[in-house]
């Protein structure tokens, strides 16, 4: 049973919006050209997905620590942001088959009795246009994001 769950989410068809998914894929399948570190050690599970959905709640409730990776629209492209998250029952409204990260924690808390310590890492995106490539600033920030995730996961 893993004690840390890492979830990278976003839309990889909208350029930088996919940075979380790209990072999760790198963590799950070691890519030596980009990063020589080993793929996730024991006790760490990695999920790449488009959106946070309620089906993740039981998985989230089962771990000690949750690390989320996403893109954000604010800030200078390529800037890494980090913040701790607490559960909050926020209804997203217009498309409720996905959840806000704090909503995912709330779902774990309400339905399964516990929510893990959680941190959200975001990278400021430069382009959210149609396309599969990360913009240069975000691509350059990817190793920094991966290094921080590994640091957090080892802590």
């Amino acid at each position: 049973m893993p004690n840390t769950l890492i979830i990278g989410y976003g839309n990889p068809l909208r350029c930088d919006d996919g940075v979380g998914v790209r990072a999760a894929e790198r963590l799950a399948t070691r890519d030596e050209e980009v990063d020589a570190s080993p793929s996730p050690p024991e006790g760490i599970a990695v999920i790449a997905c488009h959106q946070l959905t309620i089906e993740l709640a039981p998985l989230v409730a089962a771990v000690e620590r949750l690390i989320l990776m996403d893109a954000c629209a604010e800030g200078e492209p390529g800037t890494l942001h980090e913040r701790n998250l607490a559960p909050a029952a926020l209804d997203i409204g217009s498309l409720s088959h996905h959840l806000d990260p704090r909503g995912l924690l709330a779902a774990a808390q309400i339905l399964y009795g516990r929510a893990p310590a959680a941190v959200l890492l975001t990278v400021s995106g430069g382009s959210f246009d149609y396309g599969e490539a990360l913009s240069p600033a975000v691509a350059a920030a990817l190793p920094q994001l991966l290094a921080r995730i590994r640091q957090l996961a080892r802590a």
């Binding site: 488009h50 309620i54 089906e55 709640a57 039981p58 029952a89 926020l90 209804d91 997203i92 409204g93 217009s94 498309l95 409720s96 088959h97 909503g103 709330a106 779902a107 309400i110 339905l111 399964y112």
Partner: protein
């Protein structure tokens, strides 16, 4: 005419975005209603020139909720272009994935999108009447919903190696045979899934009395119903012939060849929506209004064909002497279809030939036209392709389930608005009911929209001079 307009924009908890406009007359009564789809995707146009065998993978991207349904219809259209009979085991495996799709999609619709309306009450504050309010008050039901949806999604993922856009369904069959370990995992999950499905059905039936008001006013009017049936008149989601029945439950057209759909289905275009309005041609537009999806499927059949579902179906049909007309009962029908799908999944995993290795036929372009049809969770789905001699797409027509229900959804919104809108002010209870009746159809506007971004719910009341008289904003 002096009219005023109320706009509900967008409708929440449906797949994609929609907008409702209510037209008031001088007396402040609702004169007309439009349920509008204002986004445009254009899959039919952008696929022109692509090789036909790419179509399942491309058209599945129409939607993140029902990609499997598009895979089925698309692959079947491609089978026709190749003019092949696909291996029997491949048919069973496609059916297996399609049934899993029904389970996961119906579970999402019932447990996560519609049950807050049913359990927390139509007049509840929207801040509470959502998935979190539901979790707080009914945690067991919310957990059941998660488990059931997970089961359906897991089957899709195990078969196709991906949960959302699997590439396992291909022209000519499926790309890989079923692994014994996957079969065993599916079989192992069935007991819990059956328990949840039956528990939820029992709960729903025990509470039906509470919803008599909704049942009377939520899209309760005569229409035709359409869907696929087996040659024996049983419930069918993958193949079969089309049947139309009327509001009295009488079969008015049977054993129709789905590939000749243009002979009996017309498509009208309204200027206010990108969603076309299909109708039954012999009755004309708009009298040829018909409904598809779970309610329609349970109205057109002679029986389901599996023991547990047949028992439930007999009770369901006793709701009305003739056809079950109220769209409120889409919820009920969805629960019965989940039970049915689980029974069929059990039959398929126990089939002695299900692990056969021959699961794909190969061929080139042997016909210049292919029409694939299947029952998606929301109703009958058509993919119609024309190709040139090199197999490049020349023309595409897709009729999606939500499109078939377009006329009925409009009429349902009008019925609810007439019942609950009484002035030029908007109340939460009124808005909730208008949204809830749309959700009863579980419309998948993603299939025709891009659904990008999070727009808040904005409701506007506009006077004849264009001035905003009242505005409500959510989100």
């Amino acid at each position: 005419m002096d009219t005023r307009t109320i706009v509900i924009d967008p409708v929440t908890r449906i797949e994609g975005h929609g907008k409702v406009t209510l037209f008031l007359d001088e007396a402040g009564q609702v004169a007309d209603a439009h349920f509008q789809v204002t986004d445009f995707r254009g899959f039919e146009k952008l696929t022109e020139g692509r090789p036909f065998y790419e179509m399942p993978a491309i058209t599945a991207r129409s939607c993140g909720i029902c990609p499997v349904s598009h895979l089925m219809a698309s692959a079947k259209a491609c089978d026709q272009i190749m003019a092949v009979r696909i291996p029997d085991t491949a048919v069973k495996l496609r059916r297996l994935m399609n049934l899993a799709q029904i389970v996961q999609s119906h579970a999402l619709s019932f447990f996560h999108l519609s049950s807050p309306d049913l359990l927390l009450g139509m007049d509840a504050d929207p801040a509470q009447r959502n998935i979190f309010g539901l979790m707080q008050k009914y945690p067991q039901l919310a957990r059941d919903g998660i488990r059931l949806r997970q089961f359906g999604q897991s089957i899709i993922e195990w078969l196709g190696d991906k949960r959302v856009h699997p590439t396992w369904v291909v022209p000519g069959g499926v790309s890989a045979p079923l692994q014994p370990a996957v079969r065993d995992r599916i079989a192992a999950g069935l007991l819990e899934a059956f328990t949840i499905a039956q528990r939820t059905l029992d709960w729903f039936k025990n509470n039906l009395e509470k919803y008599q008001e909704e049942a009377r006013n939520f899209g309760n009017f005569p229409t035709l119903f359409m869907g696929l049936v087996t040659p024996d008149g049983e419930l069918e989601h993958y193949h079969g012939r089309l049947r139309f029945t009327d509001a009295n439950g009488r079969v008015i057209a049977d054993a129709l060849d789905p590939t000749r759909y243009m002979d009996y289905i017309g498509e009208a275009v309204e200027p206010f929506s990108y969603l076309k309005s299909p109708y039954y041609k012999p009755l004309g537009y708009p009298d040829g209004i018909y409904r598809v999806g779970p309610l329609a499927r349970l109205n057109i059949i002679d029986r389901c064909g599996t023991p547990k579902a047949d028992q439930e179906w007999a009770e369901f049909r006793a709701v009305d002497r003739r056809a079950v007309l109220s769209s409120f009962y889409y919820h009920y029908a969805r629960l019965i279809e989940i039970l049915y799908a689980l029974e069929r999944i059990l039959q398929i995993v126990n089939d002695p030939h299900i692990l056969d290795k021959h699961v794909r036929a190969t061929a080139g372009v042997n016909a210049l036209e292919g029409i694939g049809i299947s029952e998606a969770p929301r109703g009958t789905l058509f993919h119609h392709y024309q190709v040139d001699e090199n197999g490049l797409i020349r023309r595409v027509n897709m009729i999606i389930a939500t499109g078939h229900n377009n006329l009925a959804m409009n009429r349902s919104v009008l019925q609810v608005a007439r019942r609950y809108v009484r002035s030029d002010r908007l109340t939460e209870g009124m808005l909730n009911r208008v949204e809830a009746v749309i959700r009863a159809y579980d419309p998948c506007l993603s299939c025709s929209t891009h659904a990008f971004g999070d727009m808040p719910l904005e409701v506007r009341l506009v006077g004849p001079d264009g001035a905003v008289l009242d505005a409500v904003r959510r989100g």
